[in-house]
């Protein structure tokens, strides 16, 4: 009984922290129709600003909170200025991708400034606890509850009774009409980002104090939790976000009590997927209304793709095959081999995100499935690699399609959220299903690649094998795009309502696109596993998904040649210039931002 109350208090406290995050996300979605993926970064920055203020300036708590509030608000305004305002009128997906780019840049900056190591965040609150019914409540619990309730009340007053609050609500209801009535929509957006981010930053500070622990990796989880809470309450619904957050906090807390802490996130994502599937409008959303007719070509930037002549492509391919005969430098060949492995992933993603228009943020999950499938078949069953690698491709194709299938009914940003969640679920299942995957230990001594007893160790041979697979996959994909199937996928991307009205079953074609794309991604993961000889649940993390997406956008969405070029540029160039790992992520983020702003059609053009 006592522990039940403790778990309830804990759940409500965590729920309050989520609420501070989710309310901000809901406000931003309300005025700009955007899920701000950089929200978790502001939360992290809030925590670190608070840590710096306490550590270096020895500020008392109220001053610390004020500093965090202002600093986070400024970061929020910066996000609006960079990620949203310049992109008005560009493709629907552009601001979403921009906030992802911003989040990677901000997270990386935090890591560079404060180091990736976790830090303790002390607080000067008195350490008394009030006993209630066997459980207890501490000062920090009360503070968090107070900040949560206080912010909600202030927000209510702001939205209900101030002039700017009226403008915010007007913009949320109808942006165009508000604009016509003289509302400065940019100022409204800026104010909303400031408020939302100030609350998000406070949330980060409070959670850091609560666990006495902050680290740069907390950003991504925070974004996801805020999104889950929002989906539960109905995206863009502020009161719904609060209720959803408290529910999420309680469910997590009780879940941990029953099953243990490693399951915490699994609950959140299971809840997310259930809600997306059965109640996509959340607890408080109504029946969905038919989406208004889109502007032509709003999903991706229309462009004329650059078509290299066929002989040039074959000449380049020939040159790539001949390269190891001319230059034997293992470092260069190793780098290019990594590029070929990335190209397999990029080809897969460009089909799903570019051709079919189903942006996937969980592509690393497919790599992980392929890698584990091949590794387990090889290690546990002793099967040879020439069988396990293609088998892993097929398993990834089947399993990946099954996992994503419930999300196919979703549209627009929702599919992005769902794929993100599925990517995380894959990693969490790998972590928790110890009897199969060996859990956090990972799989060791995975045998090297081999063909009919001949082990492929030499870097030249690995290079040729990977290149041959990339060329094969690219040829297949090109052939597929030229068929009725490619036409159908592109029709779904351009206008799914019109596509349905012409007899195209969306789920069938999305599933086939994922099945085809899943194979390549699975093979890439499988080969990687055999090359590394060791994998664990973190080998393929969300950064890999972002990298793949950046490659695809760099090459041009849906563009087969572009995907390969994107992989070579983004994997090859940093390696050749020997950029260290932490700066690499920063560069990917900046490249993504610059592309979205200045060349949304990519190098080779969208197809």
């Amino acid at each position: 009984m006592s522990s039940f109350i403790d778990y309830t208090v804990n759940g409500l406290v965590i729920g309050n922290i989520y609420a501070l995050l989710a309310v901000g996300l809901a406000l931003i979605f309300g005025v700009s129709n955007l899920i701000n993926f950089a929200h978790g970064s502001v939360y992290t920055i809030g925590a670190y600003v608070g840590w710096a203020a306490i550590t270096f300036l020895h500020t008392p708590l109220p001053i610390t909170m004020a500093i965090v509030f202002i600093a986070s608000a400024l970061v929020g305004m910066l996000i609006e200025r960079v990620g949203l305002r310049p992109l008005q009128g560009s493709a629907r997906i552009a601001p979403l991708l921009a906030t992802i780019g911003i989040s990677f840049v901000l997270d990386q900056v935090v890591q560079l400034v404060f180091s990736p190591n976790p830090r303790a965040l002390p607080n000067d609150l008195p350490d008394w606890r009030i006993d209630i019914g066997g459980g207890s409540i501490g000062a920090l619990d009360l503070l968090i509850a107070g900040v949560g309730v206080g912010s909600a009340a202030m927000l209510f007053v702001f939205l209900r009774f101030t002039k700017l609050g009226y403008a915010v609500r007007a913009t949320a209801q109808d942006r165009e009409a508000a604009l016509q009535m003289g509302v400065n929509v940019n100022a409204v957006n800026s104010a909303v980002f400031a408020i939302a981010s100030a609350l998000g930053g406070l949330s980060g500070l409070l959670v850091g104090m609560y666990y006495n622990h902050i680290d740069p990796a907390m950003s991504f989880q925070a974004t996801l939790k805020g999104i889950v809470a929002q989906v539960i309450g109905g995206v863009g619904n502020v009161p719904g976000a609060i209720v959803g957050s408290l529910m999420l906090g309680l469910i997590e807390s009780y879940g941990i009590a029953l099953l243990g802490t490693t399951y915490r996130n699994l609950f959140a994502f299971a809840l997310l997927i259930l809600f997306l599937h059965f109640l996509p409008n959340g607890l408080f959303g109504g029946r969905s209304v038919l989406q208004s007719e889109p502007l032509a070509g709003a999903f991706i930037a229309p462009s004329k793709p650059i078509r290299l002549p066929r002989w040039a492509l074959w000449a380049l391919t020939g040159a790539a095959f001949a390269l190891p005969l001319v230059i034997g430098a293992p470092y260069l060949l190793q780098t290019l081999t990594n590029a070929w492995l990335a190209a397999m992933l990029a080809l897969s993603l460009t089909l799903m995100a570019g051709t079919a228009g189903q942006i996937s943020f969980g592509h690393a999950g497919l790599l992980a499935i392929g890698a584990y499938a091949s590794a387990l078949l090889a290690v546990d069953l002793g099967a040879p690699a020439y069988l396990t690698v293609p088998a892993a491709g097929l398993i990834t194709s089947a399993l990946g399609t099954l996992l994503i299938f419930p999300a196919f009914r979703l549209r627009g940003h929702y599919i992005a959220i769902a794929t993100l969640a599925i990517g995380e679920v894959v990693s969490l299942v790998i972590l928790n299903w110890e009897s199969l995957t060996r859990g956090a230990m990972g799989i060791t001594s995975i045998p090297p690649l081999s063909i009919f007893g001949h082990e492929i160790y030499a870097i030249r041979e690995v290079y040729w094998l990977c290149l041959a697979i990339v060329v094969g996959l690219a040829l297949l994909q090109t052939r597929l795009l030229a068929s009725h199937f490619g036409r159908t996928l592109r029709a779904i991307r351009d206008d799914d309502v019109a596509a349905r009205s012409y007899g195209i079953g969306l789920e069938r074609y999305k599933a086939l696109a994922f099945a085809f794309g899943g194979f390549g991604a699975g093979v890439s993961g499988a080969i990687t596993a055999h090359l590394y000889s060791y994998i664990n649940h973190q080998t393929f993390d969300s950064q890999v998904s972002l990298l793949a997406l950046t490659m695809v956008i760099l090459g041009g969405m849906g563009n087969v040649v572009g995907a390969v070029i994107g992989a070579i540029v983004l994997v090859g160039l940093p390696e050749i210039f020997r950029v260290t790992a932490e700066y690499r992520i920063l560069i990917y983020g900046i490249v993504l931002l610059l592309l979205i702003r200045f060349r949304p059609q990519g190098l080779m053009g969208t197809v």
Binding site: P302, R487, R490, A491, S501, I504
Partner: protein, 279 residues
């Protein structure tokens, strides 16, 4: 003449506003029905309900003696119903020719074996291997797409390879109709085909619709240009505030006082109503 479309008691409410209320309509094979009414009368909502994009709150829709009330738009399209959209929903990044070919999607036979479960995988395999039968079908459809585009004279044929986003507004409307024709529909729903067209272009469109009608195609036409509706329609149905206020031959509907009132404004605005003045 047999009945092709039969709508009874169709009702759709949005948050307290009744967009379509108790709407009845019957269309016989080969007829052209004009659906008119002021903005917001419920014309496009009716199209969305008939084509399956939206679900009615009450009422039944039967197409070729089959109830289609609960079916999705894919299934309804497969039964032979094609529609165009009010503001032109073309596939922006697809070429003109490909847009028309998507219209023929429901007619693909060789590439889309009807087998359950493995059908989709076989479709994928056929798309990759493209045996002779698949190639023949694709070529036949391509030839047909060009014939359909030729119906629009020189408007679309020279732009066969152009992406649809590069087309003018009027050409997008034409392309939508071409795409709908590629479905070989039994019933064609046209939502304001001449919106944004100048008088010459409108006359061209009118001639084209007349040709389609003469060819035996059944058409339900939403249009604001009344002269055109009156010239083309066998019968005209008038909606106002979601309710059918008149239906009949064009010349009768034109003189119907309720229709005149709906279009010219309500006579009781600012003056005692007729009922009161009689009393």
């Amino acid at each position: 003449m047999s009945v092709l479309l039969e709508i009874k008691g169709l009702t759709r409410r949005f948050d307290g506003v009744t967009a379509v209320k108790d709407f009845d309509l019957t269309i016989a094979e080969g007829e052209l029905i004009g659906l008119i009414g002021p903005n917001g009368a419920g014309k496009t909502t009716s199209f969305n309900l008939i084509s399956g994009l939206d679900r009615p709150d009450a009422g039944s829709i039967a197409f070729a003696d089959r109830s289609i009330g609960g079916l999705g738009p894919e299934a309804i399209a497969a039964l032979g119903l094609a529609r165009t959209f009010q503001h032109g929903r073309v596939f922006a990044n697809l070429s003109v020719e490909d847009n028309v070919l998507v219209g023929a999607h429901t007619r693909l036979r060789a590439v889309r074996p009807p087998w359950p479960v493995i059908g989709p995988l076989v479709e994928l395999a056929l798309a990759l291997t493209r045996p002779a039968s698949v190639q023949r079908e694709e070529e036949a459809l391509r030839a047909e797409a060009r014939e359909i585009l030729a119906l629009f004279g020189d408007r679309l044929t020279p732009r066969l390879d152009h992406p649809a986003y590069s087309l003018s507004y009027a050409n997008r409307r034409r392309l939508e109709i071409a795409r709908a024709l590629a479905l070989k529909p039994r019933l064609l729903l046209l939502d304001e085909p001449t919106a944004g067209m100048n008088p010459t272009e409108t006359a061209e469109m009118q001639a084209l619709i007349a040709t389609l009608k003469a060819g035996g195609l059944t058409i339900l036409l939403i249009e604001h240009k009344l002269d055109m509706v009156m010239a083309l329609s066998d019968r005209v149905c008038v909606l106002d505030n979601g309710t059918k206020i008149a239906e009949g031959a064009p010349q009768d509907v034109r003189r119907d006082p309720a229709v005149v009132e709906a279009y010219l404004g309500h006579s009781d605005v600012g003056a005692p109503s007729q009922a009161e003045s009689v009393a």
